[in-house]
Subunit: 314 residues, 2 copies
């Protein structure tokens, strides 16, 4: 990825776009895969000026600076005072204290946005922490990830062809929402607007439940007396089914707690479906088993990812 | 893949090994991915003479012959009378009637082997169908697969680096077991001997349960009123977690019924683990949630597939 000095008169080769930066000063709290990839994509497009990195891990910030992602580092208070847009790209559990820390220092025109996997809980925390500055918070969720973590995993193509859900608040200025959406479009993403509650229900189903099921399944295998033999004989089905169980425990603890009600509701329905399989097996109900399996197999075969990996080869 | 005429004086270029064929006449019942890949690997190694294809679908057999996998086709009775080894590579539900059909025609030295995903049930069917010829049946299970099906998916490298479980019967002649094992080793596989009950318990856990969970999860998503929106927003986690839910319903119906007791036992334990997640979420028990997630994530990160895909690039 190309670094930028962030100077207004910077080398044109480093700023392929001749337009003025969309974001003169960008602050990113949490310069890992998500935040770092956002920076990398905006830098490549020449749509960002100076980038300030904020985080608790000084070594990680130094690495992000060495990679040319960020120009300098700052405290939350200083970043809030200097930035035009602040992207919060930490685990969602860290957000309440961040809202508290930045709000007293925000300039009136500054936009705060996030990349959290849940929205109702984050919005509640923002309302609590930002009070009458809540109009400055534009909630968002980029649907992208990777098995890799940290600034070294930052990839200017991470968001290309991916969906970013924006869940505007009634208080938001239309121009602020449009600016956040333009930033994500500049990263190559498609923006979808959704109500926060609808967002949380959908992602409880298609993202959080698969993670919970994969985690729980691996727990059960690991607890077996012959776990070592099981793991030694596991093949490609196991590999793909459990890939997401290797995800960050801290991040998923936060997501599970943050979206608890929607997840519990979906989990109860999945458990009822497992009961249907159990009953069909126990009672040798072959027609019921056939109907369940045919429905699942047809649904999965008909499904096409919104952004298949192959299409990312641009 | 190279075809073989199966003639003793065949072109040496088509028989790279100068040794006599390990299997002068091989019959394969079900010339799909599994059976076809077995043939392709043995042909490439020059260790098979004539190959007879058996199946209910004449068009599929014609395709296998056009691809050079099989030399000709025969009925079950004729194949049994002519073959030195018969590989049964059909869904396990078809095996009982096949054992009945072949047994009266088997020559005393002929070896019958299979590729079924369950072993106790297949062995019981073989004992039922083969009676006092049971010593001629050597049970086996190659741990390999693909999303592709049929003779066109046959791949001489499918078994390279993979494990094949052989579950010998007390009645088997040691030389017959060794011959089946040598055939799989010739295909590039590693052979592991296991007791049939231990095999079924292990594969109920690391293969059958992931499939059941993936099928049930997709059923639950498909049944939601907003299923279309859910599927439209599903990403790479969903893609990998549910890949195996696109598998053949007929094949998995047979496997689930064939290994019912072991699967029900594992399923009950997975459901208890899901209950533990539910309880931790409902009671806001963060230490318990952290412990579960850390255990699963560490187990999955430490896991290495027996034959990672990358190592297949030979």
């Amino acid at each position: 990825m190309s670094a930028s000095t962030g100077q207004p008169a910077a080398d044109p080769a480093k700023h392929p776009s001749s337009t003025s930066p969309l974001i003169p000063v960008l602050a990113v709290v949490g310069v890992g895969l998500i935040g770092g990839s956002f920076i990398a994509a905006l830098r490549r497009a020449g749509r960002v000026g100076r980038v300030i990195g904020v985080g608790r891990n000084a070594q990680a910030l130094a690495r992000a600076q060495a990679l040319g992602l960020i120009d300098d580092t700052a405290s939350l208070a200083d970043a809030a005072a200097r930035a035009d847009i602040i992207l919060l790209a930490t685990p969602v559990g860290a957000l309440p204290s961040i809202f508290d820390a930045i709000t007293p220092h925000l300039r009136p025109g500054t936009i705060v946005t996030d990349a959290g996997s849940t929205k109702q809980d984050v919005i509640a925390a923002a309302r609590q922490g930002m009070g009458d500055r809540i109009a400055q918070f534009v909630p968002a969720h980029p649907i992208a990830g990777s098995d890799r973590h940290g600034a070294d995993a930052a990839d200017p193509d991470l968001y290309r062809g991916r969906t970013v859900v924006v869940a505007p608040l009634v208080e938001n200025r239309a121009a602020d929402v449009a600016k956040v959406e333009l930033a994500w479009v500049t990263c190559g993403a498609t923006v979808t607007r959704m109500d926060a509650a609808a967002h949380d229900a959908v992602f409880a189903s298609v993202s959080h439940l698969p993670h919970l099921l994969a985690f729980a399944y691996v727990n059960q295998v690991a607890a077996a007396p012959d776990a070592a033999m099981r793991l030694a004989l596991a093949g490609t089905g196991f590999r793909d089914f459990t890939r997401i169980a290797g995800s960050s425990p801290e991040m998923w603890r936060d997501i599970f707690l943050s979206n608890r009600q929607a997840i519990l509701s979906e989990l109860a329905q999945v458990q009822a479906t497992l009961d249907a399989y159990r009953d069909a097996l126990q009672s040798d109900d072959v027609p019921q088993l056939d109907a369940l399996l045919a429905d699942a197999s047809e649904t999965r075969r008909a499904w096409r990812p919104a952004a298949p990996t192959d299409s990312l080869e641009v």
